[in-house]
Symmetry: C2
Subunit: 236 residues, 2 copies
Amino acid sequence: MSQVSQARRRAAQCSTCAMRHLCMPEGLSAFETEKLEDVISATRPVRRGEALFRTGDTFESLYAIRSGSIKTVVSREDGREQVTGLHLGGDALGLDGIGEGRHMSTAIALEDSSVCIVPYARFERMCRETGSIQRRLHQMMSREIVRETRQLTTLGTLRADERVARLLLDLSARFTRRGYASAEFTLRMTRDDIGSYLGITLETVSRTLSRFQARGLIDTRGKFIRINDFDALRAI
Amino acid sequence: MSQVSQARRRAAQCSTCAMRHLCMPEGLSAFETEKLEDVISATRPVRRGEALFRTGDTFESLYAIRSGSIKTVVSREDGREQVTGLHLGGDALGLDGIGEGRHMSTAIALEDSSVCIVPYARFERMCRETGSIQRRLHQMMSREIVRETRQLTTLGTLRADERVARLLLDLSARFTRRGYASAEFTLRMTRDDIGSYLGITLETVSRTLSRFQARGLIDTRGKFIRINDFDALRAI
DNA sequence: CGGCTTCTTGATCAAGCTCAAGCTTAGTGG
DNA sequence: CCACTAAGCTTGAGCTTGATCAAGAAGCCG
């Protein structure tokens, strides 16, 4: 079997990955779809706790999460660390490396995960050939910018309980979009990661969740969460 | 004079704009440069306090700041507002609109400013034709993502005085890159805007600046700032 | 089962917010 | 060009939110 058709077969498995999503909607020809699948050269497993890439690594590929979930973190010289992103199945990863040719963050799997590898040089060339794929890439990057802007407003204006509520609603919406139950999910991050992502301490996360539970807004047992009252969470 | 050559002449005036920066380095042919200048169709003045675009506006163009400075803000339903970006001469604006075809933030001039208008449809087409311009656009978007990630770490991990110090150093670096004095500049934002950008109150901004001055790190008189001790600011 | 990490909860404390008042600067109209 | 007014800035006092420190409970994995 040729290398190319092997790659194509692997890509075809990639049913939930962002690159697939990237090309599915609004009219790609069969020819275009085929080209896109050629460029998704391989998949790669990432174990829980393992890094997909690290700050400073040479940027070569974008990644799309096939399964699992991955956090991105930025560390400061003094050792303080901040979780800057939380990526689920279908999300793209690595866009921060395009600008300087090196990754500007570290991506760590929150559970055993699998990603599609999209060699950037070939992908960029393909964008030039196929307008609809180019448009997808630009949308993807723009949406990442908007997502971060939204996170900026979370960290800039919200109180602790508002931050936690927004995270829960956010995750719920994202799981829903992926076809999972909207009211029940398992947080893969630790309280520490959640706190870092929200700019609060792990104790405050824990206390806030307890308070939400006491008020009947959610049920929580460790990492498992059930949302009972969406409206009340939105109203916080 | 033909419309095209008029546009070209206007673009040629655009000596400091991002699109020019976008195309200057590493080898564009004269032909490519000419094409780029064709696509920069016009410039537009924006008065202090006036909006270049607003949340919800249909996205049609990117903008590059020719002169002046512009803040981007996001408003929440309850009226709370957050400054999410601070853009100086040469910076691009409007990337957040690509994803959904509508602007996701409001851009307001901090002083009388002027921007280059880059109609996006034509620009995207040109990216497809010219790889070096495409690469520039991708770099620009990626760097915006990295910039926001950095701002996330500011809001997520730093104390108030660290935030103010980082802003001052950041502005200094950006002015330096633009060929201005690195130690002296005039803040165009009000204390309120600065506070919103940094996720603190205007009173805390004012107090922090006063404390820096008392310690001899800076001189400040209203919006004018002189940095006396870069190392001390970095060490905060 | 034992040793680890993670989570919860309590008590205390301080950074930064709020409210308030006076001052300075900049913009406007006579 | 000056006077007036509104916007912006500074500083103080007191209070609140969430951080810190601490200790024990609960999961989780080898």
